[in-house]
Every structure is written in C-alpha cells, then in structure tokens.
C-alpha cells in the first residue's frame, strides 16, 4: 500500500464515520420529538391506571410527577448534548489566556461570559483558581468567572425556558450575569488578595503553560456531547426526580392562600428568608427548577422565587469547602455576603416592579 491509498482509506473511513453519526443523530432527534409530543397522553394514561381520583390532591401530585419526570429528562438530555458540543470549542486554558490579556473593566463581564461557556468540573476548582490568580488575573475577575459558571449554567437556563417560559429564563440570564460581573467587580475593589491562604499569595506569576493543541473534528465534538449526556444526566437524574417529587407535593397539597402569605411578595422578609434558606441547600439547577415551576404555579412572587433559586444554585456549601484550600474563612464569608446581597437586590427589585 502506498501513501496515497492510505490517505484515501483514511478519507473514506472519515466519511463513513460522518455518515454513521449523522444518521444516528437524525434518528435520535426524531425519537426525541415523538417522545416529547406524547408527554401529556402518557402522564394522563399512567395516572388513570392508579386507583386515585384525577382531581384529588394525590391525583394532581401524581399527574405532575409522571408528566414532569420524562419531560425534564428529555429536555435535560437535549440541552446537555448541545452545551457539550458548544463548549468543546472552549477550554479553561484558552479562557485564562484571554482573561490574562484583559486588565481593564471589560474583564468582569468577559469573565462572566466565559464562565458560562467554559467547561470545567468543580473538582478542578482549586487548580483553576490557582492557575488564574498566579497568571496575574485579578481576584475579582476570577470570582466573576467562578460565580457565573454555576449560576448561569445552560442546564438551568434551558430547563427554565422549557418549564417556566422564555421571559423568566431571559430575566434570569440577564440578572445572573449581572450579579456575577458586579460581585466580581465589588470584590476586586475590596483588595482581598491579603485574605488568600498564605501559600497561594506567595505564588508569583507562574508560567502560563501553553495549552496543548488537540485536533477536534465535528464527530469528536459530537462525541463530547454524548459523553457529557452520559456523565451529567447519569449523575443528576436522581436530583431531578427528587426535585420533581417536591414540586409535585407543592403542586398537589400546598394551598395557594398559604403560598401567597409566605412567598407572595408582600412580606418584607420573604426575599431575605428565601436567600438564607437557599444557601445551605445543595442541589443543582436541574433539581431546583421543578420546585421553582411549582412555586410559581401556586402564585409565589417572581422575585422571591428567583432569589431562592439563585441562592440554591450559586452558593453551595460543598464548593465553599473545596475553595477553603485556597481562601481564608474571612474571604469565603465576604464572597457569600457579596453574592447574597446581589441576589437579595434582584429579588427585591423584581417584587417591587412586578
């Protein structure tokens, strides 16, 4: 075999791979569409099999549950896949290079934007934090990145869009993004470098290693999407089921009058309470949004509900524990206080104008 035939062979293999992937993708999309269109008949059918009256509390709760579980899982799969493919064009190393070259005020919104687009797992938070800070990226910009990532995740936005509607999703996007950029800027102004753990402060501009250049073709990117679905949906489905179960209980049993009293937006303490309750609660966006859907359905005020959701998603105890390796307690407390204030302001603003 000479070189030419080897290349021709390689080309053909590539084409076969492309066709195979293209065909399976179309088939999966069609199956997805069919499943999605059958959600209501499916849930009504399941509920009718059970020995409960459809219009009883239990019937309402069960119908909500068997409708929402497949719906959320279908939406989640699609969103995670699309996000995985999109994010394959970004990497923390590239993001660092961009941010390190951007010292102006523009750095904060840019960091928030890249926080949304850059794939990173919370298990690499610490190397990422050190890598950013030691490359001379200001602490505030690093925080803007770290806040935006979980808060404005595509999973959360996509589910909000699918379950609650595009208006709420858009409001959430704009305010989540703003809170990340502004909180980063505020922390940048506070000159908090002295509250890093000693050993982190002593690291001066380490070498910015060049990111290894790996060639990705479109099939590789689709593969990244599939891997992400397997990993993320495989991990969060249990949270989703749990969240929907709570949402179903709220939907079926909580009287609207009571909800209006607690979360209706008239009581001055409802937004602060929602934020405080949300901090120690740990679930991901996929688990909390079905709860949000049910709360809004029962007449909870938008500001209060958004504040609760942001607090649950953006401020989580496990992440604080990971970051404890590089931050002092004082800095963690400031971080929580600044982000919580931003969320509080958003919640109060919304209750006031709507």
């Amino acid at each position: 075999m000479n070189t030419e035939t080897i290349y021709a062979d390689h080309d053909q293999q590539h084409r076969i791979r492309l066709v195979k992937w293209g065909t399976s993708l179309v088939l999966v999309f069609v199956a997805w569409g069919v499943a999605y269109s059958q959600l209501v008949p499916f849930s009504e059918w399941i509920t009718s099999l059970l020995p409960v009256a459809r219009d009883s509390h239990t019937g309402e709760a069960i119908a909500f549950f068997v409708y929402d579980v497949p719906k959320v899982l279908l939406l989640l799969t699609l969103i995670v896949f699309a996000t995985g493919v999109l994010r394959s064009w970004f990497s923390p190393e590239k993001t660092r290079a961009i941010l390190a070259g951007n010292r102006e005020i523009l750095g904060y919104p840019l960091a928030a934007l890249l926080g949304v687009l850059t794939p990173f797992c919370s298990c690499s938070s610490v190397p990422l934090f050190i890598g950013f800070v030691s490359a001379g990226i200001p602490l505030g910009v690093t925080f803007a990145f770290l806040i935006a990532g979980p808060m404005v995740g595509p999973v959360g936005l996509g589910l909000l869009f699918g379950l609650v509607g595009w208006k709420v999703a858009l409001i959430y996007l704009i305010f989540g993004f703003t809170i990340a950029a502004v909180a980063g800027w505020v922390m940048g102004r506070m000159r908090l470098e002295r509250y890093l753990q000693d050993w982190v402060r002593e690291l001066n501009a380490g070498p910015i290693g060049e990111a290894p250049d790996e060639k990705f073709d479109i099939v590789d990117r689709l593969q990244v999407g599939v891997d992400q679905v397997r990993e993320i949906v495989g991990k969060v489905w249990i949270w989703v089921v749990f969240g929907i179960a709570i949402g179903a209980l709220i939907h079926g049993y909580v009287p609207e009058a009571m909800m209006l009293q607690i979360m209706g937006g008239d009581a001055w303490w409802s937004v602060p309470a929602a934020v405080v309750v949300g901090i120690p609660m740990y679930t991901n966006a996929a688990g909390v949004i079905p709860i949000v859907e049910a709360l809004l359905g029962k007449g909870a005020a938008l500001g209060t509900t958004l504040a609760f959701m942001m607090s649950v998603i953006a401020l989580s105890l496990p992440e604080m524990i990971i970051l404890k390796q590089v931050l002092t307690y004082r800095l963690i407390a400031i971080f929580i206080a600044v982000v919580a204030s931003g969320i509080l302001a958003t919640g109060i603003l919304f209750n006031a104008i709507l």
Binding site: S91, P92, E93, R96, P119, F120, C121, C123, S124, V126, P127, L128, I130, G131, F132, S134, W199, L203, G206, P207, I208, G209, E210, A211, P212, E214, D220, V224, D227, Q325, V326
Partner: protein, 78 residues
C-alpha cells in the same frame, strides 16, 4: 522508558486516565513510568488548570477530560 505524569486531585476521571495510559502503553509496547500528581499547587504550577492532565517526558500533551485512545498512542510513540 518514558515518564508519564497524570495530573488530577484524585477524582474518578483521573484514575480512569491513569488506566488508559497503562493500557495504551501496554498495547503499543512502550515502557512507561506513571506518576500521579495530586497536590493542587503542583498541578497548577505545571500549567494544568483543567484536570485530568497528562505530560510525557516533561511535555504537557493533554488537559481536561479523558484522553482519546488513538491520540494517547500517538503521544506515547512520539
């Protein structure tokens, strides 16, 4: 003998990466010595900010996520 360093704080994917390196090396018959770097400071100082990362004989070849098998073989041969 090639020295392979696998960078990662000890998550599941880091262990999987180590296993992948071992398999690939055995498959193409390259002797390797694998060292796992788990200390976050050393990881970051090596230029790795998304884990797992892999370096071969001091050169960083991969960061973030599991490596592809064929790419791994190419790096080990190179």
């Amino acid at each position: 003998m090639k020295t392979v360093k696998v960078y990662g704080p000890g998550c599941k994917r880091c262990d999987m990466t180590e296993a992948l390196v071992k398999d690939a090396a055995a498959k193409i018959g390259v002797a390797v010595e694998i060292e796992k770097i788990t200390d976050p400071k050393s990881i970051a100082m090596a230029g790795v900010i998304s884990t797992p990362g892999i370096s071969i004989d001091g050169k960083l070849v991969h960061t973030g996520g599991l490596p592809k098998e064929d790419a791994l073989e190419k790096w080990l041969q190179g």
